[in-house]
């Protein structure tokens, strides 16, 4: 069956559905921006959007190359600082949701944005943390958005930049951290985490894919319940907002 939406659009819509009205959301650029603005323009008009460097509730009319681009600060309500956003809002405990992407994640939702290869041997250094580690440590919950590939969903990742459930069970609490990842959204499926073992658990698969395909294209075995429903596809209204208002130049949607 032909679908009238792209995998990225489905991921953005699935991300938007995770956000509730009046929540405070810390966002990085790319798909999370699309998901957050979509939620705000539909079911969550009173949601607050934060960018780590000191931006609250912007209303950009042009797409930017990153958080440092003044295009994405346009019509913000507050322009301040790291200590304000990541300190007095995030570290204080006022962020409900953090959106995170990365190079790699493992079955406990630990994220690597630092390097690929062997950190003690030959490796390629990438970006590092930015605010990702801070968000992963202090947000009430985090949502991970990532391409569904074996080299990204791995049994063992090269470097834990941002902790998820660390080694599973209560190891996150023992490290003194609150929250933790609630969902992982890929272009094939949506995962949650088992309430006790904290292992990644398949929640739904996107239309057009199969459980076998989802499992064959990842580097570890998630918990698979007896019945796996199909992810709800985007609505025509959601697609129109993404294409016409949020990302008309397709800078974030690839």
């Amino acid at each position: 069956m032909d679908r009238d939406y792209t995998p990225s659009e489905l991921m953005a819509v699935a991300g938007a559905r995770e956000l509730r009205d009046r929540e405070v959301v810390a966002v990085g650029l790319g798909l999370p921006v699309v998901a957050s603005f979509l939620a705000k323009m539909t079911h969550a008009p009173e949601m607050t959007i934060l960018f780590e460097l000191g931006v609250i509730d912007p209303e950009p009319k042009d797409q930017g190359v990153g958080l440092a681009d003044p295009r994405v600060w346009y019509r913000a309500r507050v322009l301040s600082s790291f200590v304000d956003i990541l300190g007095s809002i995030l570290h204080k405990g006022r962020v409900d949701v953090g959106f995170l992407g990365g190079l790699e994640t493992d079955r406990f939702g630990n994220l690597n944005t630092s390097l690929v290869g062997d950190p003690k041997g030959k490796f390629r250094h990438m970006v590092g943390s930015g605010g990702a580690n801070d968000i992963a440590s202090s947000a009430r919950r985090t949502i991970i958005i990532m391409r569904h590939e074996e080299r990204k969903l791995k049994q063992a990742i090269s470097f834990v930049t941002s902790p998820g459930y660390i080694g599973g069970g209560d190891s996150r609490e023992r490290a003194g951290l609150r929250g933790g990842p609630s969902k992982v959204i890929t272009d094939k499926a949506i995962f949650g985490f088992h309430p006790e073992t904290r292992e990644m658990m398949l929640l739904s698969i996107h239309p057009g894919t199969t459980v076998e395909d989802v499992l064959d294209t990842m580097g570890f075995s998630p918990v698979v319940p007896g019945r796996v429903p199909s992810t709800e596809p985007p609505t025509a209204d959601q697609l129109r907002l993404i294409r016409e208002q949020i990302d008309p130049q397709r800078m974030y949607m690839g």
């Binding site: 190359v65 440092a68 003044p70 301040s80 790291f82 200590v83 930015g130 605010g131 951290l177």
Partner: protein, 299 residues
């Protein structure tokens, strides 16, 4: 005594081996003209800190002047990665202490407030912490909350020798306004022994007095004020000019190998006499005026 100085004079006040906090964030308000003059003067053995690594630090690393970097990771946003910093980390020539944005900001904040340490929730349970315990063990410690007994990670303050901050407007005493988000700049200036302000425009002190709530850096922290139009080029200064995308792309291309970095430095840094020469080199007034920001949009 006036603090107004020429760029060369302000740069010459920074000794080799100094710890410099730089104001850049990725491709925004980077201290590019300052970095180019540091390279021309050959000030070496530097420690550079900033919350998010930016183009100013990458250029200095590319020129071989930096021994140590303290930051929370960084990039040139969609333009690319910090190729010189990354190469230095990969081949071991750069001592990198990698944190998160907030942990560097908290270290500046502790320095700004004169505190002996600051507790933080970030970094715990991560390989960033394990790596810091190997590379910078004297900068962090586990402590018990004296009131509840709860375990915390404590960080030492960051106390740079000098903060170098590119701003939109300052007066000749160094009272500086930063428009747009300020990321770590206010804490950098307060944590450092002194600050060099690089202003797109120097305005009369009376202008500052009419809107003093806009002053982010008080002049009492400042040793030098340099009037430096397009001082962040090719990066952007909110409300003044946009980034110069083709020139950032030229830099990204040039930083692919150490040899091409050298060729870039020869042409754009050593090959010009000063900042004015650089601005002529990249196209002069006609080219630069096309980058001027729309006053409503800010870019």
């Amino acid at each position: 005594m006036s603090k107004v100085a020429a760029l060369a004079e302000a740069v010459a006040s920074v000794p080799s081996g100094a710890h410099i906090a730089l104001s850049g964030f990725a491709i925004t308000r980077c201290t590019m003209a300052f970095a180019r003059e540091v390279i021309r003067q050959g000030i070496t053995g530097l420690t550079i800190s900033q919350c998010v690594g930016a183009m100013d630090a990458d250029l200095l690393v590319g020129a071989g002047l930096v021994d140590r970097i303290i930051h929370g990771g960084g990039s040139l946003d969609r333009f690319g990665r910090l190729a010189c910093v990354n190469r230095g980390i990969e081949n071991g020539s750069l001592h990198a202490e990698e944190y998160s944005s907030l942990s560097v900001a908290f270290r500046y904040l502790a320095g700004a407030l004169g505190l002996p340490f600051i507790p933080i929730r970030s970094l715990r349970g991560s390989d960033l912490l394990k790596q810091l315990e190997e590379r910078a063990a004297s900068e962090l410690a586990s402590i018990a909350d004296p009131f509840t007994g709860e375990d915390w990670l404590a960080l030492k303050p960051l106390l740079p020798d000098v903060a170098v901050v590119q701003v939109q407007i300052a007066d000749q005493d160094g009272n500086a306004w930063i428009r747009g988000p300020r990321w770590d700049n206010a804490e950098q200036a307060r944590a450092s022994r002194r600050t060099i302000v690089l202003a797109e425009q120097i305005v009369p002190g009376e202008t500052i007095r009419q809107d003093p709530e806009r002053t982010i850096i008080p002049g009492l922290l400042v040793s030098h004020v340099v009037e430096l139009p397009f001082g962040a080029h090719p990066t952007t200064v909110y409300g003044v000019y946009d980034y110069d995308a083709p020139e950032i792309e030229r830099y990204v291309e040039a930083t692919r190998t150490p040899e091409s970095v050298r060729a870039y430095l020869d042409e754009y840094v050593y090959g010009v006499k000063d900042h004015q020469g650089y601005l002529e080199k990249v196209g002069g007034q006609q080219h630069l005026s096309a980058l001027l920001a729309d006053p409503v949009l800010g870019y």
